[in-house]
Structure formats: structure tokens, C-alpha cells
Amino acid sequence: MKLLTKTTFYFLITMVPLLAMAGFYLVNQFSKEINYRSDNELVSDEIQWIQYLETAVANGTTFFLKTPELSIFPTDADVDEYATITTTYSYSKTKNEDIPYRQLAQVVSISGNHYQIYIRQSQEQKAALESDVKWIMLFVLAGLFAATLIFNWAISKRLWKPFRRSLNKIRSAELQKMEDMHFETTNTEEFNELNASLNYMTGKIYKDYVNMKEFTENAAHEMQTPVAVVLSKLELLLQDNNLEDDQVQSILQSVTALQRLSKLNEGLLLLAKIENNQYETTEKVSLAEITKKYVHLFAEFIKEKQLTVQTNYQGEFMISLHPILAGSLINNLLGNAIKYNYTAGLIQISVSENHFHISNTSLLKPIPSEKLFKRLKNSKESPESSNGLGLAIVKKIADVNNLRITYQFENELHSFDLVREKGRKEQTL
């Protein structure tokens, strides 16, 4: 649930009963006030009537009066010390309904005679007034309520803006570009605290990342020198004519292993360099041309394996890509298609303006998607030597150069498709 929804929800839960209670209280008070006023009027009317009666009956006559509003008549009942005021209903012919009346009743003694006094006042106006007041209040309260909600929403939206901004920044954060990331100061203290922490965090992450990267690069570089030393010693050792065949084989195997280590190192370095965008270029290359070049370069291997290569060049597939990376891309894809093929197998290549496709036959099982393009995940699957970095390099090159690479296994063919990425958002491996 959104924070705003939540605050609004709690606001509603507390405000609705509060407003209802306030309304009820106001109407009640209002009604009481009206009754009080009309009761006062009734009492003052009565006092005037009693004064009038005292003068009117001074000569000993009996007084009798009966109107809908006022009845005064002699009675035998005891004198009431206080007047009682009640609300009664009586039928009105004009309105055709019961109409509420406020009625004062008292038995008074005037010149020794007891008189019953009833004074009534129609409450019709009051009811109408009350109803009006209720409606007005309902409108005002509802308006107030709605206005509060809208303001609450608008204010929240405004207040949370810096938070949203920070959030969006975090969402689009990329390790390589974290250096330029800055969460600016706002006029809200809490967000300032948050942004300051975020600045600190991204700074630290970036620093760690750079350190790590430099470490990897330096480690890889530093590793090449000892490898060079060992390789040169092994090569010299091989020149010894007194070596037994076993010893020669041991040395050769060491050389092979060393070469693998060195190639692995180079692969990792290449990946690091691609990640660091050390191969930025404004040049455009034609994938079709590069493909042709590599097909030509590998012609001997293709011939030796008796592979059939079906090519279909419909377009150039021009792309801004560093020639080294373009070469590496095609080299890896075509190399794999040759290496993992069987004798007299098939390779299909098609290049059009926006699409590069290569597929090959192979005895290997389809590559499971969780291993596809992952570093060092596939090296145990094939009898051929592999450093397990080829496809990771392909994927990395595609990723940083607005290309999308996909893999499929269909009709006994392993195929890779390379297309331009449309509306690409930044993504990480």
C-alpha cells in the first residue's frame, strides 16, 4: 500500500467519526438553543398572560380562552409550582401532517381561582431551520473533508518529490557510472539525511568497485610476467636433447596449461576493458565484412572439418563498434560454430541490415539458459579446450554496444541471433 493511501486511510478512519460527532454535537446544541429561546418566549408570554389575567379577573369574573395557540380555563387541579414545558404533536389540516409544538402547561392561582394555562408555539420553523442547518453543515463538513484530502494528497506529492527523485536515481544506478551520481540537498531535513547517506554509500561502492577493478586488472597484468618466465623456461627445457619422452610430454602439458591460464587471463582482461568502455569508438564497421573476413581466415579449418558454410549477405549491418570488439564478436561466434561442430556438419550465416544470424550443427546438447553467456560455466561440457569466456565476451560486447544476442536450439541447430536493441535501457549483466 502506498504511503499516501495509508495516511489517507488512517485520516479517514479518524476524521469520519470525528466529523460525525462534531456534526451531531452542533445540531444538538443548536436544537437545544432554539428550544431554550422558544421556552423563554413561552415563559415570558405566560407572565404577560398572568398579569393580564390578574387585572381581567379582579372583578370576580371567570376567564375562559381557547385558541390553538393559547388555552386558559378554570380548573380544580392543584397549583403547579413550576411550569412544565413539553413537545407535543398535533394534527395540522393545512399541512396534512402532525406538527411539533412546544407547549407550556401550568396551573396557576389567580385571585383564589385556579386556572390551567396552555401556551403553544409551533416548532415547524424550527424543524425546517434544523434541517437547513443539517444540510449546510453536511456540505461544509464534506467540503472541508474533500479539501483536506486533496491538500493532503497535493502536499504529500510535493513533499515526497525529493524522495522520488532519489529513488529514480537509485533505480537507474549503474556500477560503472556511479561516480557521477549525486543526490542533491533538499529543504527537508529527513531527505537530506537520506541523500547524504546515499551519497556516502554510492561513493563508497564506486570506490570499492574501482579498487576491485584495478586490482583485477593489475593482478591479470602482473600474472602475465611470471607466466612469461615459466613459459620461457619450459621452452628452454624442451631444447634439452637428453630428455625422455615422458619428460617432454610433461613439459608440453605444462606449456598447454600455462597457455590456457594466459588466455583466460587475457579474456578476463578483455571483459574488464569492455566494461570500462575502453573501446569506445565513433567508427562504424560492417559486420558482413568482418564475417566474410573471418570465414576466409578460418577457411582451412572449415575445409579440414569438411563443413558446409551457407552464407547469405543481404545487408552490411553497419554498427559503431571498435574493430577489435567486432572481430572478437565474430571470431567467438564463428569459432564456436566451427569448434563445436562435427565433421561434415553445417554452418549457416545470414547478415542483413539489422540482423546477424549464425547457426551450426553440433553433438552438444542445447546450452541451458542459466549457463548461457555466463563466465566459466560451460568449459566442462565439451571435449574441446575452451576457456569458457567466449560467450561471456560476446554477451558483454553486445550489452555495451546496443545489441541484443539471443540463443535458440531448433531443428538440431544451435543458433545465435544478434539484433539492434530498440529503446534500450541501461542494463547490467
Partner: protein, 222 residues
């Protein structure tokens, strides 16, 4: 002249080149190198980029400033494109990334010395076999032999590293470059070598290409 700060590697290079008949000197830091280069003329200088007290690239600059005629090969642990381009821009003749095969270094030194050798002849000879580098012409007992590009490279490489045991991997990397590693194991060099040997034998040369069982090949007249 070998300028390499890694003592063990320096020794290996010296030993191998010595075997191949080169007269070599070696130094292991920038200052020594500068002294030597100022005092003596060399045919070829193999220089590492990362040196104590200075960069190998600055030595290349220095040599060019002195208008030295020496061929220059840069060797570096950094297989970085920028280094390579910077080195070649400064006037180095070749660039070799560590780790490399000594046989590869030897072959490149040979090529450079031959190219630099303006006064003398540019013919490489091994007994009755003669290679005319510029025309890529091969003769056996003065009779021309027609070789493919790859076979020619192979022969040149063999002669540069004569009498050395050359592993299949080193040969493959020399002829086909690093790309081959993506494609195949190096058994495919067998047919190339077989063809080369056949052509040379047919032309009347000695059988110099010796197969070293399960290891590689040796080009030798012994």
C-alpha cells in the same frame, strides 16, 4: 640488446638467442639501458615497457631522437591496444605481448634484422635452401620451389629457429595467430608441414623437418 627487468625472463631470452647465434647483451633498468644505448650500436633492441626508473616507451623515443638504425621490438605484460599503438607510433617495429614463445621472439628479431640490413643481402640461407624475403622466393640448389604463403612462413620460422624443438602450439600461433585457439586444436598444422616437407624433398633438399614424437617438430641438419 635485451632490456628486461625480470631477471629470469632475461636469462631465458639470452640463452635462447645465444643458441640461435645472436650476440646479445642485457640490462635490467632504464638508466643502464640509456647508458648502453648511448654508447653502442645494436642491430635490434628488445625492450620491456615497465622498467625500473622509467618507461620503455621513453627509450624508444630516445632511440628515435638519436636516429638509431636499430630495430625495436617492444615486449609488454600489458596487451593494451594503447601501449601497442603508442609503441608503434613512436617508431618501434614490432610489439609482442607477454607471455610469448621464445621461438616467436627469435623469428621476429630475425625478420627485423633482415629488414634493417640494408647493406647486406636479404637472403636467408640454410644449406642448400635459400629464402629471398622480399620476393618470398624459395630456391633449393638454385631451383625455385613454389610454396603457399603459409608454407613460406612456416619455412622462415623453422629456419629462424633451426635446431630448436618447436611445439605444435608455438607453430600454430605463429602461422595462424591467436585466433586459431578459438577454432581448433593444433593437429591441423600436420598437413601444412607434411606438404612443405614434401615440396622441399621433391626439390632435392635434405630432409630437415624432423618430427619429434608427440611433441612437435625440429628443423635441423644434424
Amino acid at each position: 640488446m635485451i632490456i628486461e627487468d625480470e631477471q629470469a625472463l632475461q636469462e631465458s631470452i639470452l640463452k635462447y638467442l645465444d643458441h640461435q647465434g645472436f650476440v646479445c647483451e642485457a640490462v635490467s633498468d632504464f638508466l643502464q639501458a640509456k647508458d648502453k644505448l648511448a654508447g653502442f650500436d645494436y642491430d635490434c633492441i628488445v625492450v620491456d615497457i615497465g622498467l625500473p626508473y622509467g618507461s620503455g616507451l621513453d627509450l624508444v623515443k630516445e632511440l628515435k631522437y638519436m636516429e638509431s638504425k636499430a630495430g625495436i621490438i617492444i615486449i609488454s605484460a600489458k596487451n593494451a591496444l594503447e601501449d601497442k599503438l603508442a609503441g608503434l607510433d613512436l617508431g618501434a617495429d614490432d610489439y609482442l605481448a607477454k607471455p610469448f614463445y621464445l621461438s616467436e621472439l627469435t623469428s621476429r628479431i630475425n625478420a627485423i634484422i633482415r629488414r634493417r640490413n640494408f647493406s647486406g643481402n636479404k637472403v636467408i640461407a640454410f644449406n642448400e635452401i635459400k629464402l629471398e624475403a622480399e620476393a618470398q622466393l624459395v630456391t633449393v640448389n638454385d631451383k625455385p620451389v613454389v610454396l603457399t604463403d603459409k608454407e613460406y612462413q612456416l619455412l622462415e620460422y623453422f629456419i629462424a629457429n633451426r635446431r630448436r624443438l618447436l611445439t605444435k602450439a608455438a607453430i600454430a600461433e605463429h602461422i595462424w595467430g591467436e585466433e586459431y585457439l578459438h577454432v581448433s586444436n593444433f593437429d591441423f598444422i600436420y598437413s601444412q608441414i607434411k606438404n612443405l616437407r614434401k615440396k622441399l624433398l621433391e626439390a632435392g633438399s635434405g630432409d630437415y623437418i624432423k618430427t619429434v614424437y608427440r611433441a612437435g617438430y625440429r628443423f635441423t641438419d644434424q
